[in-house]
Amino acid sequence: MIASVLPLIGRRLLASILILFVVSVLLFFVLHALPVDPAAMSLPPNATIAEIEAKRREMGLDLPLPRQYLIWLSQVLHGDFGVSIHYRRSVVSLVAGTLPATIEMAALSIVIAGLLGVVGGLVLFHVRGKREEPLIDFGSILLLSIPEFLWSLFFILIFGVALQWLPFTGRLDPDMRLPHGSGFLLADALLAGRPDIFWSALKHLILPCFALGLAFSPTIMRVLRSSLIDVYHEDYVHMARLRGLSERRILLHHALKNAFLPTLSLMGVQFGFLFGGTLLVEVIFSYPGLGNLMVDAVRNADLPIIQLVGLAYCVVVLIINTVVDSLYLLLNPKLRQR
């Protein structure tokens, strides 16, 4: 069964490499069109023009752009992604320190979005044709109109400031320290046997993840609903009724399994957007993840970070797309036998 997925993964791998290449080229050229001078940025303000020029030569900025790109590319292939202009640390270490945090938040968020989406989709489907339908449908458009950063602010106002139930800054309580490990706090805390860190991390994740989950669930709800409607037109649903099965059984055991496949496809696409949405949510919640790193880098015109973070986002989205497509292949019996 797994074997049927390998050709797909192989093809995706090749395509991804190509895409990453193109993206890196685009990134490079867009960023170097900046009016900002990285050399001047990396020296103290009172540097002389000569010193700046020397720095430029040292950083290779006087060379034509394509050559600069090739130099950068060869460095990258050797694993050298450069040094942050602002932090003066290697970019890789900076990204490695923040990427797990973002992935943790994104993963929890997509789970929430999926659960809410499926439940909401079932509800939307259940009320079709009834009196409540226009109202609930309107409600789903209302939900759709609230992007994740509005939900975040909304939650902060209500749960953080007004009710003060949950924290809304950072990953852990201020007095706690990150345990050593992979960077995935929830897992690290459990492995280190520190339930207090676990709960603290979880509490800090609740508001941002629900904000992201709520923002991305309405689309899933609507797609599930329309897939269910399409499935209900199929012959086998009518046949199941003729065999005397209850509507509940038909919905949960027959229809949902069929309607879930296109919904899964959509969830894969949505994850790409959700991962991008983590950026803003991290800024609002002061969450030390990739998004915050990116925004700081953008403010400081710290090009090496921007480049790597941009590529990192791209890689994650490509991996997710491949995983989702493979899952689709595995779950759909018709496509399996090839």
Partner: protein, 355 residues
């Protein structure tokens, strides 16, 4: 007691501000263990009868008049829960499109198992054995392998056998087979029909066999009901209907000899070009919004009136009814003449005794 009785059953579709009947004044009764063939063109309304039995109509269709009784119970007025209990256990169905009637993401075994669970067939072991026995009964080999396959891996004929097996699993009192062979190859149509007959004999099930193919109906049916434009055109024992059709539609144009010649052929082949025009007009009226006061325009067939304005079914003493108009019966041999019902019936009996 008859298993299925229809009395003046009328099914209509709500269209705009009126309603158009798709089945009109249907009367039949099906004794236990007999097979009734429901024959007619597309659009004649035969599939609606299947839906009427299950009470699962498409939106805006409903029974507007008459009764439908199953084993003494009123199918139309019974509560939904009671009806759902009957479906799948005492009333079973065999569909038209076998490949799409099975859930594509579940294996055959899972679907049979679900059905057997509903029928409360015991624990998992017992259900598994029963499933294998069912597949054996419909002459499907390699049952164990088959259970783990998906519907798209089977042929249409195999799927239909599985569906027939599931239908007969509960030894139902009534089976409705809605064009079970239409989607299958001609070569296996006859075999599937024979399978249904075989299973029916073992289980003593009453069967309503819906088809447009008179030849297939002739293979296994005990009684035949011919539908034309939603109305019963012919009803009686199979031999009679084929041997001596009273309605021009069934026997094309007149005469027992002509009818003899056309027996066994599909109705379509038996009609001439004018008959085809008739059909198209009927279908167009079906789609129309108003209830036409004249169901079909008067047509001439070989110089004879095939039908006229109002129609009412009359039961003739010999158990053989033909739709007529104005309360009188058309003389088949000379339709320009209308004779009194009793006289024609007696005349018919004389002929039959002579033949």
């Amino acid at each position: 007691m008859d298993m299925l009785i229809a009395k003046e059953l009328t099914v209509s579709a709500a269209l705009g501000d009126g309603s158009v009947p798709v089945i009109r004044d249907l009367n039949f009764s099906l004794p236990p263990g007999r097979i009734l063939g429901l024959v007619g063109e597309s659009g004649a309304g035969k599939s609606m009868i299947g839906r009427a039995i299950a009470q699962l109509f498409p939106p805006s269709f409903a029974v507007t008049h008459g009764e439908l009784m199953f084993d003494g119970q009123d199918l139309v007025r019974m509560p939904a829960e009671t009806r759902r209990e009957l479906l799948g256990s005492e009333i079973a169905f065999v569909p038209q499109e076998p490949l799409s009637a099975l859930n594509p993401v579940l294996t055959i075994g899972q679907q049979i198992d679900e059905h057997l669970t509903r029928l409360r067939s015991g624990n998992r072991r017992a259900r598994h054995d029963r499933a294998l026995a069912m597949l054996d009964a419909v002459h499907l080999s390699h049952g164990a392998e088959l259970l783990s396959k998906y519907p798209h891996q089977l042929s249409g004929g195999m799927c239909q056998r599985v569906l027939i097996a599931m239908a007969f699993a509960s030894r139902p009192k009534l089976l409705v087979a809605d064009e079970p062979t239409t989607a299958l190859d001609v070569t296996i149509q006859a075999r599937i029909v024979e399978l249904i007959a075989e299973m029916q004999q073992n289980a003593r099930t009453s069967v309503v066999f819906i088809t447009h193919d008179l030849r297939l109906a002739a293979q296994i049916c005990d009684d035949i009901l011919v539908l034309y434009a939603g109305r019963p055109a012919e009803y009686g024992p199979a031999r009679r209907v084929f041997g001596d059709p009273a309605h021009p539609y069934t026997g094309a144009d007149a005469g027992p000899e002509r009818a003899q010649k056309y027996r066994g052929l599909s109705v379509r082949a038996a009609l001439s070009a004018q008959g085809r025009r008739l059909r198209t007009r009927a279908a167009a009226l079906h789609r129309g919004r108003k209830e036409p006061s004249r169901r079909l325009h008067p047509q001439r067939h070989n110089g004879r009136d095939l039908c006229s304005s109002r129609r009412a079914a009359r039961r003739r003493g010999c158990g053989h009814t033909a739709a007529d108009d104005r309360g009188l019966v058309q003389d088949i041999r000379d339709p320009s003449r209308a004779v009194c019902q009793k006289r024609l019936c007696r005349g018919e009996e004389r002929e039959l005794r002579a033949a």
